[in-house]
């Protein structure tokens, strides 16, 4: 549903910090990977021992010679085990399937100045943007929030390449990035891009809005991982199929497991592609996406299958 997929081989796998691992991938079936603009992400299909996972990862800056993709994956305690699998089971020579890149976080080409804000592993798309802006000789600054220096992925590279454009905030000594303080007098043609933990994104966007910045000048990449929950049954009315969504599985993954082609793009609750009409339900929907409006959530007749679940027994979808 979401375009072409590629079979790739991992050509490099190296630790960037103690908890971040970088993978470089190259197509193996004679295809070339298409160029990807900064801010793009791909979906990795991970064959973990227990289940098939499809996780979205932002691409790191593309190499100048092209043809390869790089992602950086943070080891987390997520219940689904995706990041653990990347860290423990993938190495040079591993083969996997990835999707065509999709860009839901593009650089606004009409802006004259770009403010990039990253928190932790949120640096991946932000680093790609910095590199693209740097190569195009555009005006930008990069604000990077890290726990401490050893924890700052790519920190040395970024500083060496972008010099004074890089501003650091160490959370272990209580430093915080605040829009009012860090960006008191930004030119009117500025755009801000933020990627990082949910709480940080929310704070940055709220601060900026309170200072009169327009929504149209603010851009955020919020990838949610589906997160588990109690199992429930889903009935696909049009396909006439019933399946149980497991505790570590997303609704979308369960639908795909039974061979139904459901729309999706970001798999992270951001793009709106996977929106599905709810025909019937015997519980309440746990909306975990960033797409539906408050009214739509309350109406309860639509669900974003990539991240949201039912708290109940049975959900019937128009699929």
């Amino acid at each position: 549903m979401a375009g072409e997929s590629f079979l790739v081989r991992v050509t490099h796998a190296d630790p960037v910090t103690t908890s971040v691992k970088r993978l470089r991938m190259q197509a193996i079936d004679g295809k070339t990977l298409p160029p990807a603009s900064a801010g793009s992400h791909i979906i990795l299909t991970l064959k973990t021992p227990n289940r098939l996972l499809k996780n979205a990862y932002s691409l790191l800056p593309s190499s100048l010679d092209g043809g390869t993709y790089e992602v950086a994956v943070l080891r987390t305690e997520d219940s689904r085990g995706g990041s653990t699998f990347v860290h423990d089971a993938l190495s040079e020579g591993s083969e996997l399937t990835i999707s065509t890149p999709v860009n839901l976080f593009p650089i606004n080409r009409r802006a004259r100045h770009h403010v990039l804000v990253a928190g932790g592993i949120g640096i991946t798309p932000i680093a790609a943007m910095a590199e693209e802006l740097f190569r195009d000789n555009r005006s930008f600054e990069l604000h990077y929030c890290i726990r401490n220096e050893p924890n700052g992925a790519f920190l040395k590279d970024l500083q060496a390449r972008y010099g004074e454009r890089v501003h650091l905030y160490h959370s272990d000594i209580g430093e915080r990035f605040g829009v009012a303080k860090a960006l008191p007098q930004q030119r009117i043609d500025t755009h801000l891009y933020v990627c990082g933990p949910e709480g940080m994104i929310g704070a940055v966007l709220n601060d900026a809005s309170a200072l009169g910045w327009l929504q149209e000048n603010l851009h955020a990449e919020r990838f949610l991982s589906p997160g588990g929950g109690d199992p429930f049954d889903v009935v696909l009315r049009r396909s006439d199929i019933e399946v149980t969504v497991g505790e570590h599985e997303s609704l979308l993954e369960a639908i795909e497991r039974v061979g139904v082609d459901a729309p999706h793009l970001c798999r992270g609750g951001a793009c709106g592609q996977c929106r599905c009409s709810v025909v019937e339900k015997d519980g309440i929907i746990q909306h975990r996406d960033h797409y539906l409006t408050q009214e739509e959530r309350e109406a309860g007749d639509a669900i974003m299958t990539c991240v949201s679940r039912l708290k109940g027994q049975r959900l019937e979808l128009d699929l």
Partner: protein, 196 residues
């Protein structure tokens, strides 16, 4: 007239409560009075308001109404050109959080919105309201010359002399309507004049 989508739709100016700064640029006495009415109930905001006024119809009284608002700055200019030169200079110094308000005749809005756009300002950061003449800014598509304050169609291009029909086709980048030769088939055979 056809309803081509590019025809600009002007709105209403309304002070945005959370804007860090309000930047008003208006032309003509009716626009000045309207700006004064719109901003006077917002006394709190006025400390962060800058007003540029083009006193193009020589109406000192309307200018005084603006000054009486007590905005941080209230600057007067004698012509559209001088007004817009100042508008550009202020735009360059404007910061994020500012809201821009434009109020005046159509040809003024045409030109001022194009200037804002060329400075990288998003159209969402600019509020507009038509106040005054409907006369348009027109570009002759043949010689590319710009003609100010065109009140009716057809009109002879003041640069190359071609008889132009003013179309509803509008270029946001240029801030002008397109004027296209109307009598190519039968020179001198012009449709009846229509005002905007």
């Amino acid at each position: 007239m056809s309803d081509i989508k590019s025809r600009p739709i002007w709105g209403r100016i309304r002070p945005v409560a959370h804007a860090a700064r309000h930047f008003v640029c208006c032309e003509g006495s009716s626009a000045a009075r309207h700006v004064a009415e719109t901003f006077s109930p917002n006394a709190e905001a006025l400390k962060q308001v800058t007003i540029l006024y083009g006193n193009t119809d020589r109406n000192e009284e309307a200018g005084h109404t603006l000054d009486a608002l007590g905005a941080e700055a209230s600057l007067h200019y004698p012509t559209r050109q001088t007004l817009l030169i100042s508008f550009k200079a202020h735009l360059k110094r404007l910061h994020m959080g500012a809201q821009i308000y434009l109020c005046g005749p159509e040809a003024f809005l045409n030109e001022a919105t194009a200037i804002a756009e060329s400075h990288g300002v998003l159209k969402e950061a600019v509020q507009t309201e038509l106040c005054g003449a409907n006369a348009r800014r027109v570009q002759c598509v043949h010689c590319k010359g710009l003609i100010e304050n065109v009140a009716y169609t057809p009109i002879a291009c003041e640069h190359c002399g071609v008889n132009l029909m003013v179309r509803d086709h509008y270029s946001r980048r240029l801030g002008a309507f397109m004027g296209v030769c109307v009598d190519a088939e039968a020179p001198g055979d012009l449709p009846a004049r229509e005002s905007f």
